[in-house]
C-alpha cells in the first residue's frame, strides 16, 4: 500500500503516452463517393489523387498546397449552378496543370460539361510550346509513303475499323530499295488484330511484314514508323520486337504504388522484351521513327529498340507519356473514377529508362534529330524517313 500512489502515477503516465498516437484518417474509395456538393466532389478527387497518383516522387506540384488553396474555393461553389460548374472545371484545370504524367486526362459525368474538352495538362503544355505542330496526316503514311518511298509491287497497306466504329487502325508495310523493311502502324493493337479469326486489313499488313522479316535474305535495315502513334497494348512489345531478338532485351525498370502514401513504392522491376518462338535475330540496323506525337507504347518500343546495339531513333523528342496503364485494382494505384468524374486517366506504373533517367513529361530524345517540316511534307517529302534510310546506308 505504501507504494500504491507511485504505481498509480506511473500507470497514468503510461496511459497518457498510449493516447499519443495519431488517429487513422478516414480515406474513402473515390469510386464510392457521392457527388452531392462540391465539397464532396473536391474531396473525392483530391484524395483519389493523393493516394493513387504514381508520380508524386518526381512531380513538382505541391498537392498539399493545392488542397489548402482549392478546398475553400470549391466550398463556395454550388453543384446545381451551371456557372459554378464551369468555374469548378476551371479550378480542376488549374489544379492539375503542372502534373508531369503525360497520360493524364480527366473526363466528367456532369451533363453541363459534356461539351467541354477533357482536361489534359500535357496537351495544354505542348500546344502552348513554341515547336508545337499537329500530327502528320494519316494520308501521308497511307498514300505518300507507299507511292514515293516504298518499292513498286513491294508495298501493302490496310485498315481495320473497330466493331463500334469508334476507332480505325491503319498499317502500311513494304520494302525500300529491296532490302530495307518498312512498317508503319497507327496504334499498338497488333497482337489483338493478328489473333482474330477473320481477316482484316491490318492483319494482312502484319503478315506481310512478318513474312518479309523471316524470309528476306539480306535485310539491310528495318524502319519501324511510330510517328503519331498514341500507343496501345503492352503485349505488342514482345509480339513485334520479340521477333527480332534472340535474347531478353532489357531497357528499363517500372515500379508501382505499394501503399497509400504518396512516396510508397514497390521496388523497380526490370522492363524488357522477350524473344518469341521462331524469332530471327536481326543484326542489321533497326531504326525507330518517332515524333512529338508518339506516346506511351510508341515511346516504350522506341526505348527498347534504342537499347539494342543496332537500334537507332530518328525524329523528334517523343510525347513523354511512358507509364504503363491498367485498372486501379491491379497495382493499387493509377487511374480511378469518382461519382463526378467519368475517369481520371493516369498511369499505373512509373518507367525509368536503363540510363537511370525518367522521361515522363519530357519525352525520349532521338539520337538523330530531324524536326517536323510541314512545308516539305506538303510537297510529299519526308525528311525524317529519308534520314532513317540514310542512317541505314
Amino acid at each position: 500500500m505504501k507504494y500504491l500512489g507511485k504505481y498509480i502515477v506511473i500507470i497514468l503516465v503510461l496511459l497518457a503516452g498510449v493516447s499519443c498516437r495519431k488517429e487513422m484518417p478516414e480515406i474513402n474509395d473515390p469510386q464510392n463517393t457521392i457527388a452531392a456538393n462540391f465539397n464532396e466532389v473536391f474531396d473525392a478527387f483530391w484524395n483519389g489523387m493523393n493516394n493513387n497518383y504514381i508520380f508524386w516522387d518526381i512531380d513538382t506540384v505541391n498537392w498539399d498546397n493545392v488542397y489548402k488553396q482549392y478546398k475553400p474555393l470549391f466550398a463556395k461553389l454550388n453543384l446545381n449552378d451551371s456557372n459554378d460548374v464551369r468555374k469548378g472545371y476551371t479550378y480542376f484545370k488549374q489544379m492539375t496543370a503542372g502534373l508531369v504524367d503525360s497520360h493524364y486526362n480527366i473526363t466528367f459525368n456532369d451533363t453541363w460539361l459534356v461539351d467541354s474538352p477533357s482536361i489534359s495538362p500535357s496537351y495544354e503544355r505542348k500546344s502552348a510550346s513554341p515547336g508545337f505542330h499537329n500530327p502528320i496526316s494519316i494520308f501521308h503514311f497511307y498514300d505518300t509513303i507507299p507511292r514515293k518511298y516504298l518499292d513498286r509491287g513491294g508495298a501493302i497497306r490496310g485498315f481495320t475499323n473497330t466493331v463500334d466504329g469508334s476507332n480505325q487502325y491503319v498499317a502500311v508495310s513494304g520494302t525500300i530499295q529491296q532490302n530495307i523493311l518498312y512498317f508503319f502502324f497507327s496504334e499498338f493493337a497488333l497482337k489483338e488484330l493478328y489473333k482474330t479469326d477473320t481477316a482484316n486489313g491490318v492483319k494482312r499488313v502484319e503478315q506481310y511484314f512478318f513474312d518479309k522479316l523471316q524470309n528476306t535474305a539480306n535485310i539491310k535495315g528495318i524502319i519501324i514508323d511510330v510517328r503519331g502513334n498514341p500507343g496501345g497494348a503492352l503485349a505488342d512489345l514482345d509480339f513485334l520486337l520479340g521477333r527480332m531478338i534472340d535474347k531478353q532485351l532489357d531497357f528499363g525498370y517500372t515500379r508501382s504504388k505499394q501503399g497509400n502514401g504518396r512516396l510508397d513504392y514497390s521496388p523497380w522491376a526490370p522492363a524488357f522484351a522477350t524473344p518469341q518462338a521462331g524469332a530471327r535475330n536481326i543484326t542489321a540496323p533497326i531504326v525507330m521513327l518517332a515524333d512529338a506525337w508518339s506516346a506511351s507504347m510508341a515511346e516504350m518500343t522506341t526505348m527498347a529498340v534504342k537499347a539494342l546495339p543496332n537500334g537507332h531513333f530518328v525524329g523528334e523528342r517523343t510525347w513523354g507519356a511512358n507509364g504503363p496503364l491498367i485498372g486501379n485494382l491491379f497495382f493499387n494505384g493509377g487511374q480511378f473514377t469518382t461519382n463526378y468524374m467519368n475517369l481520371v486517366y493516369t498511369s499505373s506504373l512509373m518507367l525509368k529508362y536503363k540510363d537511370g533517367k525518367i522521361y515522363e513529361g519530357v519525352g525520349f530524345p532521338p539520337d538523330v534529330e530531324v524536326k517536323y517540316d510541314e512545308a516539305a511534307l506538303n510537297l510529299g517529302q519526308d525528311k525524317q524517313l529519308e534520314a532513317a534510310i540514310g542512317l541505314i546506308h
Partner: protein, 251 residues
C-alpha cells in the same frame, strides 16, 4: 584534462564495493513478433501481417533496494512486417525486415522470495532504424504469361503478368522515413538466483511505438506504428561477483 579526470573518477566509483553490489550486467535474447499498426484504407485484397524477428541485448540494472531497480537494455531488435495480397492477387507480398538499435530504459519492480522472484518492467525506449531489407514478389507487366485461351478462366494475376521476385536492401527515403522511434514498454517475468552469482530470467515484453515511421509529409497520411511483443531470456551478473568472486560466494 578535465574530461580524463572525470572518466577516471567515474571508473573508480564504479569499482567501489558498494556500487558493484548495486550493479548487474548481463545478456539476453529472444523471439519477437511485430505488428504494424496502420491501415490499408480501401485497398482490396491487401493486408498487413505480423512477422517474427529476434532481439539481443545487454541488460544493465542498478538496484536501489531489493524491490526497485532501474534498467537499461541496449541492443538490437528486428521489427518486421509483411504486406500481402490475396485471392486473385495471391502470391504478391513484401516482407520488410527492419533492424533497430534500441535503448529501452525502465523501472524494474521485483517481488517474491530471495531466490525466485517475479518482476515487472515499465518504461520507455528510443530506437534507431538502422537498416532494412525487402523480400517479395510483384507482378511484372513486362513479363507476360502465355496466351490464355478465350474459354479458359484464370485464378491469379501471375497468369497474366509473371512474378518478379526480389530480395534487396531497403532504400530509405529521407522525405518519408522517420528513423528515430520512441515508445513505451511494459514487461513481466520471473528471475531465479543461481549459485548466488547469476540471475537468470525470462520475460515477456511489449514495445508500444509512439512515433510514426513516417515524417509528416502529406495531408491525410496514414500513420504506421510498431507494436512489438518479445519473449526473451537472459542472465544477469552482479558486478561484485566479477571483481570479487570470493566474497560473493562466501556470503
Amino acid at each position: 584534462m578535465k574530461r580524463s579526470l572525470f572518466l577516471v573518477s567515474t571508473l573508480l566509483l564504479l569499482c567501489t564495493n558498494y556500487v558493484q553490489a548495486q550493479f548487474e550486467i548481463g545478456v539476453s535474447g529472444g523471439y519477437n513478433k511485430n505488428y504494424l499498426h496502420t491501415s490499408t484504407g480501401y485497398r482490396a485484397y491487401t493486408k498487413y501481417d505480423a512477422l517474427s524477428g529476434f532481439t539481443v541485448s545487454i541488460p544493465i540494472q542498478y538496484h536501489f533496494n531489493n524491490w526497485l531497480a532501474v534498467e537499461a537494455d541496449p541492443g538490437y531488435i528486428q521489427k518486421n512486417y509483411e504486406q500481402k495480397r490475396d485471392h486473385f492477387f495471391d502470391g504478391i507480398y513484401q516482407k520488410n525486415t527492419n533492424s533497430y538499435i534500441q535503448l529501452p530504459v525502465m523501472a524494474h519492480f521485483s517481488f517474491g522470495g530471495d531466490k525466485l522472484k517475479g518482476f515487472m518492467n515499465l518504461g520507455g525506449y528510443g530506437a534507431y532504424w538502422a537498416s532494412g531489407r525487402i523480400k517479395g514478389a510483384m507482378a511484372n507487366p513486362f513479363n507476360l504469361g502465355p496466351d490464355i485461351p478465350d474459354n479458359q478462366q484464370t485464378y491469379t494475376f501471375f497468369e497474366y503478368d509473371k512474378a518478379y521476385n526480389y530480395n534487396e536492401k531497403y532504400s530509405f527515403d529521407s522525405r518519408r522515413d522517420r528513423r528515430m522511434e520512441f515508445g513505451l514498454l511494459a514487461g513481466a517475468g520471473i528471475e531465479y538466483l543461481l549459485q548466488q552469482r547469476y540471475r537468470i530470467f525470462v520475460e515477456g515484453r511489449y514495445y508500444y511505438g509512439l512515433t510514426d515511421q513516417q515524417k509528416s509529409y502529406m495531408i491525410n497520411q496514414i500513420p504506421r506504428y510498431n507494436d512489438t511483443y518479445v519473449i526473451q531470456a537472459g542472465c544477469l551478473f552482479n558486478l561484485k561477483n566479477i571483481f570479487h568472486p570470493e566474497s560473493a560466494t562466501a556470503e
